[in-house]
């Protein structure tokens, strides 16, 4: 049953934009900001020359739009896939919605709790056991400790680590650690889950399991944002696609039509 507030979009992004300094060092940007302050103080314009509005050139010298004017919605229970070539701004979009960095302009409103997996096993401690790491990981995903403990059985079953739960995770294989991290994420008590290129290494069997779990979560109103380069997976998991190019939305719509245009 959907409550009235659940009928609002899960995510509403309006002109979400982000620019970065292209200079790699922070000190340069500090210097740059002193210069700007100085110019401002002298009453001169910050912009020395009109900058092109086309392309990815940012609002100032040495800046670059990573994403620009992203306007879209994600409904409850929807799984939005984001596709596009490297450097199209997919990861920046994920980082913005995961609250890891702030947008430069625009805004996004998310109804409910956000959880994100940008890297499998972030924050794992090699000397702690699987349940201990699952606990820490679950809390990172915004759960209370007791909530993770309630789900521990399910998490260990899902990741098939019941027999290994007293071993420190450094003794577990990469695949096992990966399954553990994903199991925690898919059991998170979140309303909006961001998955950035984390399902690609799953084998067929585990992928099926994840698919079932995601379907189950979606039926309960949980929304997903799914970034992947594996188009078969995208087709299988997503109910709508967003194709990004050069930091902007190139096309969004039904998976079938977007994929057709994309692979053309």
């Amino acid at each position: 049953m959907l409550t009235p507030s659940e009928q609002n979009p899960r995510v509403t992004a309006r002109s979400l934009s982000k620019w970065y300094w292209t200079e790699s060092s922070y000190r340069t940007s500090l210097q740059e900001s002193f210069k700007r302050a100085w110019r401002h103080w002298c009453g001169r314009s910050t912009f020395e020359e009109p900058l092109p509005t086309e392309g990815r050139q940012g609002p100032e010298k040495n800046t670059l739009w990573a994403v620009r004017d992203l306007t879209f919605e994600i409904q409850p229970g929807e799984c939005l896939g984001v596709i596009g070539s490297n450097g199209a701004g997919k990861s920046t979009l994920v980082r913005l919605l995961a609250r890891l960095t702030d947008p430069s302009a625009g805004e996004a409103i998310v109804q409910g709790k956000i959880a994100s997996v940008l890297e499998v096993g972030s924050g794992f401690h090699p000397d702690l056991t699987a349940p201990e790491n699952a606990l820490l990981n679950g809390v990172f995903l915004g759960m209370r400790r007791v909530e993770v403990e309630e789900r521990m059985e399910a998490i260990l079953n899902f990741s098939e680590l019941q027999d290994f739960k007293t071993m420190p995770v450094k003794k577990l294989s990469q695949g096992m650690q990966y399954r553990l991290a994903l199991a925690v994420a898919l059991h998170a008590n979140a309303d909006f889950l961001l998955l950035d290129e984390v399902l690609e290494v799953a084998d067929r069997e585990f992928e099926n399991k994840c698919w079932e779990r995601i379907q189950h979560q979606r039926e309960r109103g949980v929304s997903f944002l799914f970034v992947s380069h594996n188009l078969d997976q995208v087709k299988r998991f997503c109910s709508r696609l967003l194709w990004m190019d050069e930091g902007r939305i190139h096309l969004q719509g039904e998976p079938q039509e977007v994929l057709e245009a994309y692979t053309l």
Binding site: L16, Y20, W21, S25, Y26, R27, S29, L30, L96, L97, A98, R99, L100, T101, D102, P103, S104, A105, G106, E107, A108, I109, V110, Q111, G112, K113, I114, S116, L118, E119, S122, G123, H125, D127, L128, L135, L136, V139, F140, G142, R144, R145
Partner: protein, 276 residues
Amino acid sequence: MQTRIKPQSSLPWVDWKLVYQYRDLLGLWVKRDIASKYRQTFLGPLWFVFHPLVTATVFVLIFARGLQIETEGVPPVLFYLTGLLIWNYVSQALNSTSMTLVSHSGLFKKVFFPRVILPFSYCVSSLVSLGIQLGVLSCFYLVFVGWGSPVRPTEWVLLFPFLIAQTLLLSFGLGLWIAALTVRFRDFHHVWALISPLWLYATPISYPLSALPESWHWALELNPLTSVVEGLRLGVLGTGTFHFGAWAGSVGITLGIALTGLLIFQKVERSCVDSL
């Protein structure tokens, strides 16, 4: 629950509601920190027994025997161990707190949580070694009392929890400052390596405040640790130059450092993710 993702405000303040939601992280990170320190080290917490003992022995040899600095009639070992209790805590807490942003940059780029919980949990987990050192001090204390030494605790010992809380808050605030500055200017930790020993000598650890001319006292009492150390000695050993006026000032400075530390940390924490 609704989250608004919007451009950074110019003066971001801690989102206490979010910190409260993530409160379980504090305990888990403390546990993780302790586990990572002790698992697979053979001597484990024993290091925290040796460390103050060695330092205190050196202090006894140099300051008490060599330079003949009067320790207000208290056995020198007890005198130094009491002061080192505070100093070792501060230096240990600052060590891990100040590196929070640099050493966990990978985590900060990938995982969202209220950052301020990590430095705070380091200040909490450092209490473990403080507890161990307190045990060492107690053993020596009992031995000396048993041998007929006249040291006795006074009613000021009731201040103990407050003094420790103040030390924790001071380390937290200062750690936030150093963490923020180290991210902005990577060479800041060299600056800190220079300041830190100077700070030790500006704190009455290896000497009593009363050994200095009275006209100097105000300058040393600007150092918030002075009142903490002297107050602790007055409570535990019965000697020390402690008055409420100086302590109030030191608490004020501590609160100031903690508040400004939170402000600058919050500011840097949001923007540094893009440049780490």
